[in-house]
């Protein structure tokens, strides 16, 4: 599904040029469950941003289902994120003014779905993550684990090809974190490609493939 070749990302910070990714090549097949690990500054977040279409590489190729994503325009990237990618963030990133249902509807608003279809789909997704009784609640009326489940429901709204999760359990206690991981595993078993960025060994062990980063390079790529 994904082929990246010689992917390089450099930033200019003042006088210095920082290389966040240094010629990374790898491919990801449909249905994989991958953990990307490494210390902070290793380049794993940069890779995730590029995979998710939030950032462009300085050099190299990023092919997604045959499309050269590195050459996409801003609007094409926006649509790519909207249709192909589901994001789950460490800090949930729910809009505080909107109800759980409205938060889940958001990606479908930008894809132009009809209001009624949108609401039905959002309700169905919230049922699936076990929040059927809390659809009208605002984020501040939900626990951390519940908020992350709303965020996961939102990431699934437009039936993405790839779920990208950045430290999804980082803000949760361990029991809740295990529940959320179980949800990812369930989604993966249903066929969804899941990529989790983490520095938590336990989270990484739950994935079937582990890619380790250091100084912008892949140092380990193993299937467990």
């Amino acid at each position: 599904m994904i082929q990246i070749e010689d992917l390089t990302k450099t930033y200019v910070m003042g006088e210095e040029t920082v290389t966040a990714l240094d010629g990374v090549s790898l491919s990801i097949a449909r249905g994989e469950s991958i953990a990307i690990i490494g210390p902070s500054g290793s380049g794993k977040s940069t890779l995730m941003n590029i995979l998710g279409g939030l950032d462009r590489p300085s050099r190299g190729r990023y092919r997604f289902e045959g499309d050269e994503v590195a050459h996409f325009s801003d609007d094409q990237l926006a649509d790519f994120r909207n249709r192909r990618i589901g994001f789950v963030f460490q800090s949930f990133q729910l809009l505080p003014r909107l109800s759980a249902l409205q938060n889940v509807e958001l990606p479908m608003v930008y894809s132009g779905a009809a209001p009624r279809a949108r609401r039905e789909r959002a309700a169905e997704l919230l049922e699936r993550v076990g929040l059927g009784s809390r659809m009208g609640h605002r984020p501040n009326q939900l626990s951390g684990g519940q908020q992350q489940r709303v965020a996961i429901a939102r990431s699934l709204a437009n039936q993405p090809d790839l779920l990208l999760a950045d430290e999804p359990t980082g803000a949760l206690d361990s029991a809740t974190g295990i529940e959320v991981l179980a949800l990812f595993q369930k989604l993966n078993l249903e066929g969804l490609t899941v990529v989790i960025v983490t520095h938590d060994r336990g989270v990484a062990d739950a994935a079937r493939r582990r890619i380790a980063f250091r100084d912008g390079r892949v140092t380990e790529d193993v299937r467990t």
């Binding site: 950032d55 801003d74 609007d75 926006a78 994120r81 994001f87 990133q93 990606p107 930008y110």
Partner: protein, 413 residues
């Protein structure tokens, strides 16, 4: 591929406004004041125009006013109307003899004096006229009689009083036959004029005394003017259609009388009510535009307030913007959301301002006994302008929001 529908963008924009009612209200206040001021000024200006139109038409119909004009001095300075003394009885006679279509020709001189009677006193205008004055100015006699040519020729000291003068001197008593003293000279009251009420500028049109021309010239104004000089000649045209031709005829007759050569400037001027009306309307119109322009400055100030708050909102909601972009919002969706938020704030202010402005104008009209003019075009213009203000001042903050880097924005605390 279809993006977010306009309805959804409007919903996002209004959602943010409703979330902070106090802040949104205060932000709109600038536009409220601006629009209210513009609407009020325009409405008052239109009311004034209407009032002036009504009152000038009330001066007398088909009236032409001939007044002296100080010729330009070598320095090029021109005296105001009435400052010269170029008109004389000869001009009056020439107009009476030669201008066809002149239904009434009424020369006049005006002086001010203190009037005393039975211990009371009052300051008023004494106008020296001939009997034709009544017809020329559309005046009526309420009681008694108007003086006749005979009275004038004999230089009799008779007076016809305006109702205000009667009230001031005697209250309700009947003044006919009573004596008054004007500058010490005794006059007999022979008649009282019908009331004309107040003029548009609040001047009491009933506060005057009419007396024969000759009498006023010699007794009241005295040596300040030449013995045969008149200040204003009122000419009433027989019909509205003859107004222009009568005015032209008067011009040529008086020019001939004054021996003005072709190419030389006139030492008098003729005005008909239509031209006076036009001039006053133009003057009030210019004044109204000026007032509205000053008021429009506050609209700009309101726009700056909106821009300020929108810049704050973009900073506050950086993470929201980043998230929306991550979820698939295009840059133009973000741009539209923030620009619309500014437009809705401004348009909301415009609606409230329009209501306040119209209510204010109606209130002032009621208190000041002023005709209320509803400027119908002001409604779309006020709303259009306030939307424009929102768009102009919301454009930069919205552009800043749309230009944010989603990764940076998501990381912002």
């Amino acid at each position: 591929m279809s993006g977010a529908s306009p309805t959804e963008i409007v919903r996002f924009a209004s959602g943010a406004i409703i979330a902070h009612p106090l802040r949104s209200g205060l932000t709109s206040l600038g536009v409220v004041i601006g629009v209210a001021a513009v609407v009020m000024m325009t409405s008052i200006g239109l009311g004034a125009q209407k009032r002036v139109t009504d009152s000038i038409s009330g001066l007398g119909s088909n009236l032409i006013i001939v007044s002296p004009l100080q010729p330009r001095t070598p320095g090029g300075v021109m005296g105001g109307a009435g400052s010269g003394q170029s008109l004389t009885d000869a001009d009056t006679e020439a107009i009476q003899r030669q201008v066809e279509g002149a239904a009434a020709v009424a020369p006049s001189v005006t002086g001010g004096a203190q009037v005393t009677a039975d211990g009371a006193n009052w300051n008023t205008s004494i106008i020296g006229v001939t009997p034709e004055y009544l017809e020329a100015r559309d005046l009526t006699i309420a009681s008694g009689r108007m003086f006749e040519d005979r009275d004038a020729r004999q230089g009799r000291k008779v007076a016809v009083l305006g109702p205000t003068v009667v009230t001031q001197l005697w209250g309700d008593a009947d003044p006919i036959g009573k004596r008054i003293r004007i500058r010490g000279a005794p006059f007999e009251v022979i008649g009282v004029l019908g009331s004309k009420g107040q003029s548009s500028f609040g001047r009491d049109q009933d506060d005057l005394i009419l007396s024969p021309l000759e009498t006023v010239r010699s007794r009241i104004i005295g040596r300040r003017i030449k013995a045969d000089s008149v200040q204003t000649i009122y000419v009433k045209a027989a019909s509205e259609g003859e107004l222009a031709s009568v005015q032209e005829d008067i011009d040529s007759v008086v020019r001939a009388e004054h021996k003005i050569q072709p190419g030389e400037e006139d030492d008098f001027q003729t005005q008909n009510l239509a031209s006076i009306l036009e001039a006053s309307k133009a003057a009030i119109g210019a004044f109204t535009v000026l007032l509205a322009a000053i008021a429009a400055v506050s609209l700009v100030v309101g726009g700056v307030g909106i821009m300020n708050i929108m810049l704050v909102a973009v900073t506050e909601r950086t993470r929201e913007i980043g998230l929306r972009m991550a979820l698939g919002a295009r840059r133009k969706d973000v741009l539209a959301q923030f620009a619309l938020e500014a437009v809705v704030l401004s348009l909301f202010g415009g609606l409230i301002g329009l209501a306040i402005g119209l209510l204010g104008a109606a209130g002032i009209a009621a208190i000041g006994d002023w005709p209320f003019a509803l400027p119908t075009w002001a409604i779309p213009v006020a709303l259009g302008f306030s939307s424009l203000v929102g768009l102009v001042f919301g454009a930069y903050p919205a552009w800043r929001a749309a230009r944010l880097d989603p990764i940076e924005a998501l990381r912002r605390e």
